[in-house]
């Protein structure tokens, strides 16, 4: 993580699930049935606890006996406290953008909070840099690419977000203040892949650079 990013993005990391149209559409039929009973009405949110923070160039531990999946995402860094802001004013509360790789175990179900899947040490890589809002022409027209060992394995665009960034800030700040330094993970697209010890995993977003991590085996796990 660059010094500037590290200094600014030091708050709570909030994630938004099911915020890519492709992912949501895939599950809609299932979401009409129990235990869900209806499609989500409000943004589906989770928290990446501080122990999950990780950075560009660092290792990510593959938990023994589990499947590990990267989650390429556009990260929004809050610059000014946002309480009950309108979508029109939302971007004035943003310091800038960065890349987030929101690592997770696979999620078969969205019914219960995904603490065990998402809150493991080092499971939220953020970086490499903080790019100011003014340097990004349209944050809803950015290509995300996930590379594993140099090959593109997942690709999507922020044009496919279910809720736009201003809309997310407005809906979240209606009930909880987004504080300066908080990071909003705007969603990860469908078709997550598995990665394995030894893999070089990189997320590239148009204009934001490339965030790289190496997967390593948990001590005691065969490589």
């Amino acid at each position: 993580m660059s010094h500037a990013l590290h200094d600014v993005a030091n708050g709570t990391v909030f994630g938004v699930a099911l915020n890519y149209n492709g992912l949501l559409q895939q599950r809609l039929a299932e979401f009409e049935k129990p235990p869900y009973k209806q499609a989500p009405v409000k943004p589906v949110l989770f928290i990446k606890t501080p122990n999950t923070r990780n950075a560009h160039g660092r290792d990510v531990i593959h938990p023994a006996g589990e499947r590990l999946q990267p989650g390429p995402a556009l990260g929004v860094v809050i610059g000014k406290d946002a309480t009950r802001v309108s979508a029109d004013d939302a971007m004035t509360h943003v310091a800038g953008f960065t890349i987030v790789n929101e690592y997770s175990l696979p999620e078969d179900s969205y019914y219960r909070p995904a603490v065990k899947a998402k809150c493991r040490d080092g499971f939220c890589s953020i970086g490499p840099d903080l790019i100011p809002v003014s340097a990004v022409a349209d944050p809803h027209q950015l290509t995300l690419k996930l590379y594993v060992n140099g090959a593109v394995v997942q690709e999507n665009t922020t044009a496919n977000l279910v809720r736009s960034i201003p809309q997310l800030i407005a809906e979240l700040s209606e009930f909880m203040t987004l504080h300066a330094g908080d990071v909003l993970i705007t969603g990860t697209p469908e078709e997550r892949v598995d990665v394995h010890p030894g893999d070089l995993v990189e997320v590239e977003i148009t204009g934001l650079g490339r965030l790289a991590n190496t997967i390593i085996a948990e001590p005691g796990e065969p490589a």
């Binding site: 709570t12 909030f14 699930a17 099911l18 235990p35 869900y36 009973k37 209806q38 989500p40 009405v41 409000k42 589906v44 949110l45 989770f46 928290i47 606890t49 501080p50 122990n51 999950t52 938990p63 406290d81 946002a82 309480t83 009950r84 969205y110 019914y111 219960r112 909070p113 995904a114 603490v115 065990k116 809150c119 493991r120 040490d121 009930f175 909880m176 203040t177 504080h179």
Partner: protein
């Protein structure tokens, strides 16, 4: 000893709490309970347990869980002793939840049950309010129910672990406007504190200042603006909170 964080004349102080809830600052000054603004005594993540009392699970028509049901709260939802919490307009059901909270004292990873209590610095109390109107079946209980601004009173203080000899046998009680509404005992917890520390630390590192809110027994009721809500855990603390309307809260707390 009891440790708290307070704000006085614009500055935040770490204090110790003495007789009659007076607080002693590092410089020796002693202030009354009503002279200071009480802040949450810890600021780590809160791992809150759902359905961790068999009677409460039954009250909500759920079978008791076979694995802990945990959700996370972030510091923005915490508020201190003697502060206010807002009830949103046009909701049907907002209820309190009186809970014993274990505060982690040192990093805990792969801790076994038999050693777990060495990682507990002390205990506090929380009122894990929920607005049931906002429940959705995605990461339930979702953040809109449980992670709202100033909707998780915590405190008033942390009492050292050594001063709570049997944490698995404490009475929990809630009063609304002086009327006893909820009564239970930590003896009825499904997953106890050593179990929970072993569970969380098996897949992540618990950090100093992290809190485990251990769930609530049966006896829930609606609260409305004007209500004084007191939650108490025997031998740990008595945490007072007052409900205000949405309009009053944002009039006084607009960022």
């Amino acid at each position: 000893m009891k440790h708290a964080r307070i704000r006085f004349e614009g500055s935040v102080h770490a204090v110790t709490v003495e007789a009659d809830n007076t607080v002693r600052l590092a410089d020796g000054r002693v202030l009354g309970e009503r002279q200071v603004e009480w802040l949450p005594p810890a600021n780590g993540s809160m791992f809150a347990l759902g359905l961790n009392y068999a009677d409460h699970a039954k009250e909500l028509a759920f079978a008791p869980p076979t694995e802990p049901l945990a959700f996370i709260k972030s510091p923005g939802t915490y508020t201190g002793h003697n502060q206010v919490t807002w009830r949103p307009d046009n909701v049907e059901y907002m209820h309190y939840e009186c809970e014993l909270v274990a505060v982690i004292g040192k990093p805990a990873k792969n801790v076994k049950r038999e050693n777990a209590m060495e990682y507990v610095a002390g205990y506090t109390v929380c009122n894990d309010y929920a607005i049931r109107d906002y429940l959705e079946n995605y990461y339930r209980p979702n953040l809109r129910v449980k992670n709202r601004d100033a909707t998780t009173p915590v405190g008033p203080w942390i009492v050292d672990a050594a001063e709570v000899p049997d944490v698995s046998n404490l009475k929990l009680r809630t009063w609304i406007n002086g009327e006893l509404k909820q009564e239970g005992t930590t003896a009825d917890m499904i997953f106890d504190i050593p179990y929970l520390i072993e569970y969380f630390s098996s897949f992540m590192t618990l950090q100093p200042g992290d809190m485990i809110a251990t769930g609530t027994p049966e006896g829930l009721a609606d609260v409305v603006p004007g209500d004084e809500v007191v939650v108490e855990v025997e031998g740990v603390g008595r945490l007072v909170n007052r409900i205000v309307s949405e309009a009053d809260f944002f009039k006084n707390n607009k960022a």
